[in-house]
Amino acid sequence: MSEKRTGAQVMCEALIRNGVEVMFGIPGGAIMPFYHAMWEYRDKLRHVLCRHEQGAGHAAEGYARATGRLGVCIGTSGPGATNLVTPIADAMMDSVPLLAITGQVASHVLGKDAFQETDITGITMPITKHNYLVKRAEDLPYVFEEAIYIATTGRPGPVLIDVTKDAQQATIVPNWNIKLDLPGYKPNYRPNLKQVREAIKLILSAKKPLIIAGHGIIMSGAVEELRAFAERTRIPVITTLHGIGSFPEDHPLSIGMPGMHGWVHVNRAIQECDVLFNIGGRFDDRVTGKASTFAPNAKVIHVDIDPSEIGKNVKVTVPIVADARLALQAFLDELPPDREALAELHSHASDWMEHIREMQAKHQPKQQYINRANTENMSLPPHDVYAALSKALNSRGNYRVVTDVGQHQMWAAQLIDWYRPRTHITSGGAGTMGFAVPAALGVAIACPNETVWVICGDGGFQMTNQEMATIVQEGIKNIKIAVINNGYLGMVRQWQELFENKRYSGTPLSGPDFAKLAEAYYWKGITVEHTSQVEAAIEEAYETDGPVLIDFRVEREANVFPMVPQNKSISEMILESPHKS
């Protein structure tokens, strides 16, 4: 128990004590003692050597997003640490429990511009939930315990620990008798019942109620509670980009995604509803459009574990600071037990749902976008790829999908049918291009028995595809990449087409032959140019025992519709391009 340890050994043991099994990183001078030590613990602590610290960070995020567990990434001081900045910011925006461990120059040269010194705690202060600079080995057990506690509780988020090289090297007798001293950090999990009753009163009196299911449903594991609550009240359910999978899309109460690329009937329903019950969503501006015009007739009930989210963007009638699952359990307990008391709500909700379905039928059956009217002569409409992928995924089951950022991401959200939590993994808040390939590495390690599909653009793919080598080195076979290759930074091009009269400034994009690139990485590479080849290619990807990349050379100027222009009301949706192709 009281044996001597180096600081670096203490770091490893602290991680193991907290249930960490995998870490993603790249070594360097200031973190070498930690790498030296982790070799002894390699049976319990798997280290995955990435090709770029950004990749390590996203891989750790992917691991965390797929499981809800802590993701761990490592970088050395200076550039190693600064390369972690993007994934840390990404994790902050999407509330991902991430621990970043960085080496730092020795404490006696701190602040003297030593080789590879950067003030990473200063740099990451606004993009971490908390961070630490550790200069003494004695502090390591406490700091690791507290950091992991903070990263994984309340509203999860990234925490960074910067450890000086001398603290890693020093020999100490660690004190594992830890009592956290966090008087200012007490996440409130249990809802205030008075507020819950208030909210139920509002819901029972509603004629046009709506539920928005956000990321919090998935993070708190409230999927069953959400379903039970929706079914008992019969209120239609909207799922945000990060709420995708929290409610099955074939459920009669599911109406789809809201916001900038949400469905018309969903946005209209929001504008018409009288009670809006948002559970675990943060009213992001991609959901609300111009916030002052959002849901003008609605009384809003907002459940969020982070009090600073409540009232930030949208005025709230009943605020509830709580864990989404515990809140929904309280709602279920507090609903009147007899059906009589709910009869009026049920009758209103059913009329309301009928109205929403009418709008849906009129404005945009999903099929309209798949069987496009004006894209007949395109060689490969991206929609065909998604239709085939959705079919393949859902007929085979057992999948995770990781999307990057751009048009392909929005099509994936719109055109694939989603049923289960944590199957749709994407960079939502930060919108980080280059997220998908490395994140999939983490997802594949977390879910070795599932097929992990990456859907990414040719732009984002070219930012971080070097992790394909990591995937091979780690012997990972369950990753398939679909590059939706349109030869453009497509989402930016779409804005230029719609709002800047097609001035394609800085958006046309060339690339290597992606299938050949895949082959160079010892992957199987397939190129698809016509709709007729899509299904066979996906089939081949499944049949191949190893990682596969499919380069889908899609129609270059297809657009994502519907679309709410930035800063406009969600009532103003564009359904087609003003330019005839």
Partner: protein, 180 residues
């Protein structure tokens, strides 16, 4: 925009001042003054921040996100005692001194140093009174001035104390595991 006086109690850990300031800087607000020092409880500091902004409630909530922040209040509309101290080095040739001494007496200020051609005056009072004194004394020639920034305390029994937080710190909040 309106000036707000915010009082915050924070755990005295490295970086806490940076974090608080960073949260305000992020919005591009200018901090008019900031005073930090030990509170009545060991390990806990109290700060008074004066800043011009509209959306105070949101910023107060975001300050609570910081792990070391124990309590934050916007006391702008509360009954408060506010104090500030200024030290001024004046150009004070012997001929001017009687006038300056008379003024310091009127304002209840103190002369804390006298040099060959200079005087250092210490002025403590409400921010308005301190400003008033500065305006009056400025024509004599202020060579150097240093102000502490204001500190504020709510009057009467109603408090803003750290004890309740530190006392209840034994045993941290429950950890509710995710289900899937």
């Amino acid at each position: 925009m309106k000036k707000h006086t915010i009082v915050a109690l924070v755990q005295d850990r490295p970086g806490v001042l940076s974090r608080v300031v960073g949260l305000i800087r992020r919005r591009g607000f200018n901090i008019e003054s900031l005073a930090v020092g030990h509170s009545e409880t060991p390990g806990v500091s109290r700060m008074t921040i004066v800043v011009e902004w509209e959306d105070v409630e949101q910023v107060v909530k975001q300050l609570y996100r910081l792990i070391e922040v124990l309590k934050v209040s916007d006391v702008t509309h509360d009954p408060i005692v506010e104090r500030e101290m200024a030290l001024m080095k004046l150009h004070a040739p012997p001929a001017k001194r009687p006038e300056i001494v008379a003024l310091t007496e009127v304002f209840d200020a103190k002369i804390v140093d006298v040099g060959a051609n200079t005087m250092v005056i210490e002025m403590t009072g409400s921010p308005a009174k301190v400003q008033n004194f500065i305006d009056v004394i400025r024509p004599y020639g202020i060579k150097e001035m240093m102000r502490t920034g204001r500190i504020a305390m709510v009057r009467g029994a109603r408090g803003h104390t750290a004890e309740e937080f530190v006392e209840s710190a034994n045993g941290h909040a429950e950890r509710v595991p995710a289900m899937n």
